[in-house]
Amino acid sequence: MSSESVQFHRDADRLTHDLRHRAWIQKALGGYYVKRDEQKAKYTDWQQARATAAAAKYEAVNHLDKYLVELSDKLAARGTKVFWAADGAEAAEYIASVARDAGVKRIIKSKTMTGEEIHLPQALEKAGLEVVESDLGEFIVQLRGEPPYHIVFPSMHLTRGEIDETFQKKLGSAHADTPEELTMIARDVMRQKYCQADMGISGANFAVAETGHISITENEGNARLSTSLPKVLVSIVGIEKVVPKLDDLATLLPMLATAGAAQNMTCYNTLLGGPRQPGETDGPLEFHVVLLDNRRTALLADPEQRDALHCIRCGACLNVCPIFKNIGGHSYGTTYQGPIGSVITPHLRGLQSWKHLSFSSSLCGACGETCPVKIDLHHHLLQNRRNAIAQKPVWWEMPIFAGFAWFMRRPALYRFAAPMLRLFEPVMRAIRGMDIDPASMWTRTRDLPPVPQQSFKEYWRARHAKR
């Protein structure tokens, strides 16, 4: 087993048995389900909205070269510097060099999962820069030295008490009782940071090829401030974020809000198409857009799973996933948790090291059904399993399956074995889940169904004999 798989099984096992954690997550998501359904009900046709959104992303992803060049040219036309980064190291190196050239010391960062993916804050801190997360949830987990728990709700696993403790310890703040007081503590700290920072870093939810804009969705206003106050702005954008037309956003922005946060529309949806223009009095003097590949082209090269690049990172598949709800976000050990993370991480970081995520699925299909851009998530989990085995067969599984098939095709043997099973059942029950049980891996966490006292064949024969 890979070390990633060992970590996953250990953490998943621990959290599944943590009933307090499970109850907490259920409660946090309970409100989401109600509000999301209320919002969805307002749509004239939610399924048609999904089809439209999926078609827009399909068009973009399947003509990615065309739309990226268009985006890049349109951005450059208004004075934005576009940098194409093949991997995370290249992106981080470029951003550090921009900071160096502009004499930057302090960076204020709004939420970017792509930045998280390439460990951008750590790389910049190593280069001697101060990096502060401005999104409240991200700020809290940054203070605690934790990765985000959920791609949309980074601190959903924490109670107000835990957050209060963190603030007291790290910020020296007074004891606070309510989410409102805690939010205001962070607001006051952050206000200073915005005004002091000389560089802002943001992600992007979409990038519009037609007009040359990136689009940022948020609720707090931290991205608005981070992208307009510092003199230098860098936005890191995965290459799959591009959409062909501005009008695509008329559907995608409300859907992202509904699927992701059970809102009609999130509080701020900002289009950025360039640094401060002639006639403008504020906004960054330099604007850099980093287009990041980081193995997205490897996923693109798999036509079967290419639609995983449609993902708009709304987190809806996490919220409905029975696995996520039981093992929590940190157990995955990935930047992207839940079904979408289980699907794409093997492509981004290696199939053999991350295949275990595709096996931890009940295949209930809830993820595929909820996805606003119709990614075939649960089938992709199966395809990852198939690909992993085809690439590296498990030597001891093959004779077992072959033996099973041989046995099942021999009725005489089956007739002989069934009573044997009945005979051994008391022993099997007695040792169930213990180390001496040869099937303990399976039986430790699962019930053993009782062996029927009669096979169907025996029952049928007896029934006819009576007549």
């Binding site: 890049s72 931290n222 956003l249 403008e280 090269a301 639609d307």
Partner: protein
């Protein structure tokens, strides 16, 4: 820094796309000729109904909407807001609906359509701005640099007051985009939909207003 990766990435993309993906995502999607109205939340056609929808959505979002018969009435409402909340200074810019109302306040004003100090805007009690348009379907307010005094005014002070004319009401986001292209010639380098006062649910998923942006958002809707 030289950028060698552009061609490398484009080559990888073209290689990958040489194998076609199944087109099942196009099945069931409307072809061209359909408007977002066919799937998004419905939008009425008359202006009065649009305004009613905007008000309803605003109430859900905790945006305060005050209908004002004319510009003078808006000035009166603005003056009472200033009085009731003890404003000491405000940020604003020059726009036809707001000029008189802002100067009538008799307060120090930081104008953001001329070079200004961020720190002095940060100390203001309110930001008073115009907007590009109002979006009924979402309860949103579209701001641009030209229509709302730059990129910062609408988000830095703790109370944002928008003075807008009822004729600026549009149906949905697509209408707003169309208007934007018409009035500004092209989509400007900065545009933002503001949908309610700043909010967060990051602590226990409990809604708190005023996370980083304004804690209060007031729309003065001038009807004539």
């Amino acid at each position: 820094m030289p950028n060698d990766s552009r061609e490398k990435i484009l080559r990888r993309i073209r290689e990958a796309l040489s194998v076609k993906a199944p087109a099942r995502h196009l099945v069931g999607a409307h072809q061209s000729g359909h408007s977002p109205q066919d799937w998004l939340p419905p939008v009425p056609s008359s202006r009065a109904d649009l305004i009613a929808l905007f008000e309803k959505n605003s109430a859900d979002l905790k945006t305060e909407v005050r209908r004002c018969a004319d510009a003078a009435a808006a000035a009166t409402v603005l003056a009472s807001l200033a009085r009731d909340n003890g404003w000491k200074s405000v940020g604003s810019h020059r726009f036809s609906l707001g000029n008189d109302a802002v100067s009538a306040l008799g307060l120090p004003v930081v104008f953001t359509d001329a070079p200004y100090e961020t720190a002095s805007l940060e100390r203001c009690d309110a930001g008073i701005s115009g907007c590009e348009c109002l979006v009924a379907q979402t309860g949103g307010i579209l701001v641009t640099s030209a229509s709302a005094g730059g990129r910062v005014l609408s988000v830095l002070p703790p109370h944002h007051v928008v003075i807008a004319s009822a004729s600026q009401m549009v149906g949905d986001l697509a209408d707003a985009f169309a208007l934007l292209r018409k009035t500004e010639g092209s989509v400007p380098a900065f545009a933002s939909f503001i949908t309610g006062p700043s909010r967060t649910g990051d602590i226990e998923r409990i809604l708190v207003l005023g996370a980083h942006g304004p804690k209060r958002l007031t729309v003065l809707l001038v009807e004539s």
